[in-house]
């Protein structure tokens, strides 16, 4: 059978060594009434047949050309350097466990240490952890940090936080027992003001001003940021944010129908002991050689159990590795270039869309990065028409916001070359 290693003879030898006649002699503790006759699943397939079946399922999906994908909403098509895949496919990385034994895990540990540094640099904050599941749970973890740190009972959420992140936050709040209120008016009950920047519609918030408001009320400021945008936009650390979180999918990860991606979290030095999850730190051996270890574990579930800062154990280490490779490949210039190309193309597209009949920019005056909301007549119908032309148009946001029933957000990245923009505009001009 695939992936099993014992020959019938091996099994006999091992059973004999145990003085057992059959496997049943080893399962004596299992009540007879519970023993299954057979596992009710189809019999196994050869690898050839398995892959044929899986390929069939993959073929049941329609993938749009990356050039012609203008839909984001938290997941974006971006150029992924071949280096990312080449590193992630190294079995020494992807078949290792959480690095509990540092002497035999320096590769993973150093890679995480580099990731922590990269995220800290990107967000402009002192410390970042080894990764979280995704952007949504990262927001929830940050909110809980604030609740514990301030001892206050509510978390305030500014408009247009990703609706799924908000939903997840509400779930954690219900469980943990704190309130979630929408608005930008903190009170003395407010543990944190959480805002996304750029927001779900793509619009850039004035981080400095929001931080000021939060701090004025004694609340923490939590920014949920787009990592690519930080090559151009003020970093949370620059405008006084206390905690920065976000989704790292754009840093070298494929959309993969929504996961696995990677959440990141960074904070000011004084909050470090409230951080959830793994932290890697520098250490030295008897000969003074530098190495890396999991550290400050007194925050974590395996040590503190119910008093831990979070329950997270397995995180998204390999996805964090992808992000590290991506950021290292790009460097400051590359990342800025990617961000700027995305920014300029999005603005070029916005300008052209605005000229189309029955299409208007929702907020012509507000600054945006590479995604922006557009109001268009029968938006759903027109988006469907685009699909028929092989174009994945903007994201209709009406499902989340009744007031935006006829609005879609369009985004551009380095993959949407000028010709692709023309194809989109052309298709919108001549619906057929």
């Amino acid at each position: 059978m695939p992936y099993l290693v014992h020959s019938p003879e091996d099994r006999q030898e091992m059973l004999a060594d145990l003085g057992a006649g059959s496997i049943d002699d080893l399962l004596v503790d299992v009540p007879a009434s519970l023993r299954l006759r057979r596992l009710d699943l189809a019999p196994g397939l050869s690898e050839m047949e398995t892959m044929a079946r899986v390929r069939e399922l993959a073929a049941g999906n329609r993938v749009f050309d990356d050039r012609l994908t203008f839909r984001g909403g938290g997941v974006y098509r971006r150029f992924i350097p071949a280096a990312v895949g080449a590193v992630l496919s190294k079995p020494e990385f992807y078949t290792a466990y959480t690095p509990y034994q540092p002497e035999a895990s320096q590769g993973t540990l150093q890679a995480i240490f580099e990731f922590q540094t990269l995220i800290a640099e990107l967000t402009g904050l002192e410390i970042a952890n080894a990764s979280l599941y995704d952007g949504a749970t990262a927001v929830a973890e940050a909110a809980m940090m604030a609740v514990v740190h301030t001892g206050r009972p509510e978390v305030l959420v500014a408009p247009y936080l990703h609706p799924e992140y908000l939903e997840v936050l509400r779930g954690y709040a219900q469980g943990r027992g704190f309130a979630v209120r929408e608005g930008t008016d903190p009170t003395e009950d407010t543990a944190a003001l959480v805002f996304q920047n750029p927001d779900f519609l793509g619009l850039i918030a004035d981080g400095a001003q929001l931080v000021e408001v939060a701090h004025a009320a004694g609340a923490l400021a939590v920014a949920c940021v787009d990592p690519i945008s930080l090559a151009l936009l003020a970093a949370p650390g620059e405008y006084g944010g206390d905690i920065a979180v976000g989704e790292g999918q754009q840093l070298g990860l494929a959309p993969s129908y929504g996961g696995p991606h990677v959440g990141f979290i960074a904070c000011r030095q004084e909050l470090v002991r409230r951080l959830p999850g793994r932290l890697v730190g520098e250490a030295h051996d008897g000969q003074g050689r530098r190495g890396y270890v999991l550290t400050l574990t007194a925050r974590e579930q395996h040590i503190r159990r119910e008093k831990a800062t979070s329950n997270i154990c397995t995180n998204h280490s390999l996805c964090a590795l992808a992000a590290s490779v991506y950021m290292t490949y790009m460097g400051p210039h590359g990342l800025q270039h990617v961000a700027d190309v995305s920014y300029r193309r999005a603005h070029a597209l916005a300008a052209e869309l605005a000229k189309l009949p029955e299409v208007e920019l929702l907020y012509p005056e507000r600054p945006f990065f590479n995604e922006f909301p557009v109001r268009m007549k029968n938006v759903l119908h027109r988006l469907r028409a685009l699909e028929d032309k092989g174009i994945l148009g903007g994201l209709p946001v009406g499902r989340w916001y009744s007031e935006l029933a006829d609005v879609a957000t369009f985004c551009c990245t380095e993959l949407n070359d000028p010709r692709a923009l023309d194809q989109l505009l052309e298709a919108l001009r001549r619906p057929a």
């Binding site: 290693v5 993959a58 078949t95 290292t328």
Partner: protein, 490 residues
């Protein structure tokens, strides 16, 4: 061998990679963005070339032990072989480049895969529905407790306690606390199973659920599970199954049949999705009928031959993460299940149990075996017997690293002093198990003959034992440019 940090390889005048030009008229952000929204100082990312980057990560990789090169008997973690076909499957463009917000009519293949995976998992653990959303085991625990919480609330009950055995994994109490529950510990008996008497004394109408692992973290099957289930249900509480040890049971028996109401599974353990040096994993949760209304939304439904995402679930606890789960891991797990089939999965669990008992037998007299066998898929030994020579579980672990083996889980579960928790899995050959047993013997002999030398091991790995205490006292959690660090150094 050691490797510099990428930041230390960086050169300030490295221009960065070649990238496409914008090709549009719009002015660059630097000119058009309002000043107060602009970044002031560029992040200090490394500036190195692709050849240096690949060399850097190539060398880092070589510093790791991994299943691909080393036996990795890390108890409770089920480090079994990760089929390479799974990786090929997840990388198929039809899966990898699918956008989560595409119209369902264009993602039928993905939805069918998830629907079929749900059905397969239901069959394996004996539940009615499964949510594939949770990203890992702990996330699954929390998700299940949220559903149990919502269930009790829906019946107008406020149950604020969750019972957790003293042998439980740390995530159990942590998840309960995160969910607002008060954690009450239940003692284990001398036989390593949960003490029914102690459980009885702690069961009352405040209790929302009992969290159990079966086989438990000692690798022992909870013989009285049926009685336990009855007691728990009698008080109106729910029984929760921590699926980290499911690799012992496939095709042998099912948590659902034992009376568990909610069950999490670690696809990155039982179903061979790789651990990635600490994730990503996937922690689907299965539930019985009465918890079904509370499942996270959306669920995946098949309606007249068509798959769809059902968001209209009024009693749902809501989604527990963005989108639909770690889809890439779901593809891997489903690929594995297709290849194994029911017969294969059953054989896998039988082989896992056989391997653990065989290895346990080989270690008798070498290490302490505080509990009577047979064990299930793993067992917990103790290095207590080497204590007189000043040797601890930690030393045994390091001695095994020196000999080319990753170390068993140590100091867990907490109820066994100097615990050495060994899980061989079904994918290690008898030859490997025998060689490992000899290595443990060698370490035990060294403990007696030359404990000092053992204290110094490992000596042939990239680094020797690292001073974790010093590391935690003055944590250095990131690289800083020399100038900045200069001031700090002692």
């Amino acid at each position: 061998m050691s490797e510099a940090l990428s930041f230390e390889l960086s050169r300030p005048d490295w221009p960065g990679p070649r990238l496409p030009e914008a090709g549009v008229q719009q002015p660059p952000a630097a000119e058009s963005l309002p000043a107060h929204l602009k970044r002031r100082q560029a992040p200090l990312l490394p500036q190195i070339s692709e050849p240096e980057l690949m060399r850097h990560y190539g060398r880092l990789a070589s510093l790791n032990y991994s299943i691909s090169e080393n036996f990795y008997p890390l108890g409770s973690c089920t480090m079994k072989y990760n089929p390479v076909a799974n990786e090929a499957a997840a990388q198929l463009p039809g899966f990898a480049y699918l956008h989560p917000y595409q119209d369902e009519s264009t993602t039928q293949g993905a939805l069918e895969l998830m629907h079929r995976l749900e059905a397969a998992l239901c069959a394996v653990v004996g539940v009615d529905r499964v949510t594939l959303q949770p990203a890992a085991g702990a996330h699954g625990e929390w998700t299940a407790l949220r559903m149990i919480q919502a269930y009790h609330q829906s019946r107008g009950e406020r149950r604020d306690q969750v019972l957790v055995p003293d042998s439980a994994h740390g995530t159990n109490p942590a998840s309960a606390a995160l969910c607002g529950f008060q954690v009450v510990e239940v003692r284990s008996g001398a036989d390593g199973r949960i003490s029914v008497a102690d459980l009885e004394s702690k069961l009352n109408e405040r209790v929302a659920a009992l969290m159990l692992t079966n086989p438990n973290t000692l690798g022992l099957f909870e013989r009285e599970i049926l009685e336990v289930a009855e007691m728990v249900h009698a008080t109106g509480a729910k029984l929760y199954y921590d699926g980290a040890n499911l690799n012992a049971l496939m095709g042998i028996c099912r948590p659902g049949d034992m009376g568990f109401d909610a069950v999490h599974m670690n696809l990155h353990k039982t179903f061979t999705t790789p651990h990635g040096g600490g994730g990503p994993g996937a922690g689907p949760v299965g539930v019985k009928k009465d918890l079904e209304p509370f499942l996270p939304r959306p669920t995946i439904e098949r309606r007249n031959g068509h798959y769809e995402l059902d968001h209209e679930r009024p009693q749902s606890i809501g989604r527990v993460r963005s989108f639909y789960g770690n889809f890439g891991m779901l593809v891997r797990a489903y690929t594995y299940i297709l290849a194994m089939g029911g017969d294969g999965l059953a054989q896998a669990s039988e082989d896992a149990v056989l391997a653990a008992n065989y290895l346990r037998g080989r270690l008798e007299g070498v290490l302490d075996l505080p509990h009577e066998g047979p064990c299930m898929h793993e067992f917990v030994a103790s290095a207590r017997n080497l204590g007189e020579h000043g040797i601890k579980a930690l030393d045994v672990a390091k001695g095994l690293l020196e000999r080319g083996y990753y170390a068993p889980t140590i100091y867990f579960p907490l109820i066994v002093p100097e615990a050495v928790m060994v899980e061989p899995t079904e994918t290690e050959s008898k030859a490997t198990l025998d060689a490992f047993a000899e290595a443990v013997q060698e370490v035990a002999d060294l403990a007696r003959s030359d404990p000092d030398r053992l204290h110094r091991e490992p000596v042939s790995l990239p680094v020797g034992r690292l001073d974790e205490v010093a590391a935690a006292r003055r944590p250095v959690l990131r690289w800083k440019p020399p100038s900045e660090t200069a001031g700090e150094s002692p």
